[in-house]
Assembly symmetry: C2
Homo-oligomer: 172 residues x 2
Amino acid sequence: MKFGVVIFPSKSLQDLANSYRKRYDPHYALIPPHITLKNAFEATEDDAKKYANQLRKVAREFKPFTLKTSKISSFQPVNNVIYMKVEPDSVLDGLHNQINQEFKEENVEYSFVPHVTIGQKLSNDEHSDVYGSLRMQKVEHEEIIDRFHILYQLENGSWTVFETFRLGEEAE
Amino acid sequence: MKFGVVIFPSKSLQDLANSYRKRYDPHYALIPPHITLKNAFEATEDDAKKYANQLRKVAREFKPFTLKTSKISSFQPVNNVIYMKVEPDSVLDGLHNQINQEFKEENVEYSFVPHVTIGQKLSNDEHSDVYGSLRMQKVEHEEIIDRFHILYQLENGSWTVFETFRLGEEAE
């Protein structure tokens, strides 16, 4: 089965993202708006507890941080994903790197561009239209992020949370 | 905003429940299959952390327990909800009572019938048809439950997990 590691931002940012996703993101009904920390990877249900133990330790090493969004951007020409850009942050960066090093199956060769997807799987024409109308919009938002989650995917494509990890918690 | 407290069973039980929910439950896309421990209640986003602290303490008081399902049942004539019956269990019962006492806003006057909903908002005729065809099916399943979750509802009706609580964890 597939697992992934994400941050869910506050309800207000999720509601804003969903107002776009509803029209432009076919994954709208499968998972709430999120910032991906680790892309989907294959593991067994038994492995989940091992991963959770590792992630619990990682979470302790990082403090809550301020997440800032500023504008709407696109990954074109790489792909037709439209997203809310999340400003670079050293804690977020460190968290991403640490999690991906922890699960050594994958080389992290791409650079980490933290984002909340609001549109994807758009045709080139759709992408041009939608991005053209959204790119000038400001999405200035700021909030404290103090947790992240590991999720697994059900057969229907939707995601269920397995566990939450709070940043900066003391060892148990 | 609305919060709720639920158990997500294993992927295999969720997949089985979704095979029915897809056709018979309009909440199919809003939340994964679950056992409700506390019905939706109103609270502010700031309250969430207070509730999480309370639930973290509750979680420590209970050990993981075995969840057993046996058959498909219905709440008719009270309502047209069809569900997988979860066998009574003293830990599950205690957990439900403790959580509902912790949040004193609500009198728990109904008896707790733990279940995984697989159909709801059916007309009387639909209910008769569907329940008639499902009631003879066995759903014998057994698994260990070692966690529960608090969730909040987004404006579009879908639910996001705020935090996970693991049963029987030592104090931090």
